[in-house]
Symmetry: C2
Subunit: 396 residues, 2 copies
């Protein structure tokens, strides 16, 4: 074999989504893309706000020297200052630029955080259903994932997390607003989780970090609030990106922020800055960092997501699907009418509907639908959803 | 301790360059930056060619939809097509877009390559003196570095490399044109190295990859040619960036290319694409990728580097320093007039000259000077170089 055996294993385990993608591509090639209803991809389809183009034009036209050069590995001071001011407002805490590291998206941020804190065999708790990339990110740095199930509404259960902690536990990754479930964790839950982690950190003599991956923070519905993880726990770190806020996932711009109250904050930040360098990111792209300084108050208009969510929920409910109405993000995670979610997703495919089986997210028996697609795609898929439901679970 | 113990060790071992940087910053703060002659940083100081700005403006003003969105993890098809056409011309081989993965700079490319091929305890041969980041990149993915010394002119010795190979060896990293020495490896040497690696690969039953990190390919002097590593060996991979060609190191754009003749090419490329994704790069920045399509024939005018190299070589020679005249890149790696390179660099600092000790690159007794600085900085430092040489090794 030419490649590493663990990469061969990773390619095998990542094959669900790839297989769905390949089968979908084959279907589209056969029927035409407009006759296939593809709900598999969490790829924001809205265009960036006009301000993004303006900010990029200004950044490109800036004639000062050295603007495309190397910079501190943590990022441009002016950009980190702008992010710190923004975070201070959002979280009601005083952030300084030194609490911020600009990264290549949230994926880059999570890898930097994990690289800084994990020695081989250290454990990270991940809550199912989960964004499957977390498993890779932890394994990249020699860590071991411990999966803890959320409840039937996809809400974390603090006592279950507590039971999973031992002296190898270095972090808990949460993701609120959540992919794939759309769940948003409330302030009480976060405080309860933070309180438990504070006790366990003292017990084991070093901090257990609470990492919130929160790229969907601004993408919430029905006036739901996303509480601050920093308010709930001192040893909290946030990873996020502008992929959804500004609809620029291809530009790879994100950041990580460390609670100004975290233990050993300076050492932690220094390790993360070194991790950003030695993992080969070196720094987040310079031009996007400069554009960002003027974009922190900007966000895509989420009205299309609001309409699609209502529409999709109505269509699924009318056909008898059971699901938790998403409070945020752009996913639905309904219960499959069959125990076998893979067989169910195959049945959907016969109606030219593409979805991802729940087992890809660590919860078999469910399926994920991404609603970053035009409303007419959702409408056109409605009869297919109804027929499959009727055929597989008639009268229930 | 809040951070991983191996990161604490990495912070310790990376402290040479940091310490130089901090001492330099302190000196500059005290004396004024214009009175300190800083030759420590390999940061291209030329501005990007005008075509870069034009290409970026066109890319920002392009009004098609989805241009800032997710893309295949390997990069934009049009960009990979342009790189493949460029490489076909340079190497006299037929590259297809499938042989190319766009990356976050050469640092990203190297991490992606190593992630794809290394299992824990696999070995990678690195030639001293070396770019010190290689040690981190190999360790990131659980690999073990085996250092092999080059000869006194910094030329690799094939028999020494052969002796270091065992059944754990997965790759040899070379860097031609070289940082820190300026050496460029000739075609005969590469063919001899390739021939030996082909024999050893057959012996151990799997390919030992030859990885050339070649971001300085276009930065060569006296009509030196940089021979193709692909012509010399089938299982060759190139990692490179546009940081030096276009003077855009902050923008993090590079690529890796696999020899179209490599064994198990498809599997290798597939593993690298997955590595690009799961290491959190996801894809190289979209906007720069689009701009690049029109920039592959473009390069900074290297005339300033040519003049600085001549000037610096003359000044050092006149003061009696021994060095190998660099054939490429923008570094000099002279012998220190003291065995103790750290003490020598401290002596230079007393003349307000900042350099990096050779032991930072795995070869004590030497020191590195980066000449990506204005000519007048080199001229102004000349008396200091002469005085230190005279004081430490009078009459030799």
């Amino acid at each position: 074999m030419t490649i590493a055996s663990r990469m061969a294993a990773a390619m095998q385990s990542s094959s669900w989504i790839r297989r769905m993608f390949e089968e979908g591509a084959e279907l589209k090639a056969r029927l035409g893309a407009d006759r296939v209803y593809d709900f598999t991809l969490g790829n924001p389809d809205l265009e960036p706000p006009a301000a993004v183009k303006e900010a990029l034009l200004a950044a490109v036209q800036d004639d000062r020297t050295g603007l495309h050069g190397y910079m501190p590995n943590a990022g441009l001071p002016a950009t980190r200052q702008a992010v710190a001011a923004h975070l201070s407002q959002v979280h009601g805490l005083s952030f300084s630029p030194d609490d911020i590291i600009m990264t290549c998206g949230a994926a880059g941020a999570l890898n930097v955080i994990l690289k800084a804190i994990l020695d081989p065999w250290d454990e990270v708790i991940v809550l199912a259903p989960f964004f499957p990339e977390y498993l890779f990110y932890v394994e990249n740095h020699g860590g071991v994932v411990r999966v803890v199930e959320t409840d039937r509404d996809f809400v974390p259960v603090v006592s279950r997390i507590e039971e999973a902690i031992n002296d190898h536990t270095r972090a808990v990754i949460i993701n609120s607003p959540n992919n794939p479930t759309g769940q948003v964790y409330g302030a009480d839950l976060l405080h309860s989780l933070g309180g438990m982690l504070a006790v366990q950190s003292r017990r084991y003599g070093r901090p257990i970090y609470l990492i919130n991956d929160e790229p969907y923070r601004r993408l919430v519905y029905d006036q739901v609030e996303v509480p601050s993880v920093f308010q709930a726990y001192a040893d909290a770190v946030v990873a996020t990106s502008f992929s959804k806020d500004l609809s620029i996932p291809g530009e790879r711009l994100g950041y990580l922020a460390v609670n100004p109250q975290a233990q050993g904050r300076q050492e932690l930040i220094a390790a993360m800055i070194l991790a950003n360098r030695i993992l080969g990111y070196v720094n987040a792209p310079a031009l996007m960092q400069r554009a960002l300084v003027n974009l922190l108050g900007t966000s895509v208009d989420i009205a299309p997501y609001v309409r699609r969510r209502e529409l999709f929920c109505r269509i699924l409910a009318e056909s008898g699907y059971q699901f938790v109405t998403p409070k945020g993000a752009f996913y639905l995670f309904p219960k499959a009418p069959l125990d076998d979610d893979v067989a169910f997703v195959q049945a959907l495919k016969e109606e030219n509907i593409l979805a991802v089986p729940g087992r890809g997210f660590g919860r078999p028996g469910y399926f994920r639908l991404a609603f970053c697609v035009p409303e007419n795609t959702i409408v056109a898929a409605a009869p297919g959803f109804a027929r499959v439901r009727q055929r597989l679970a008639p009268g229930t």
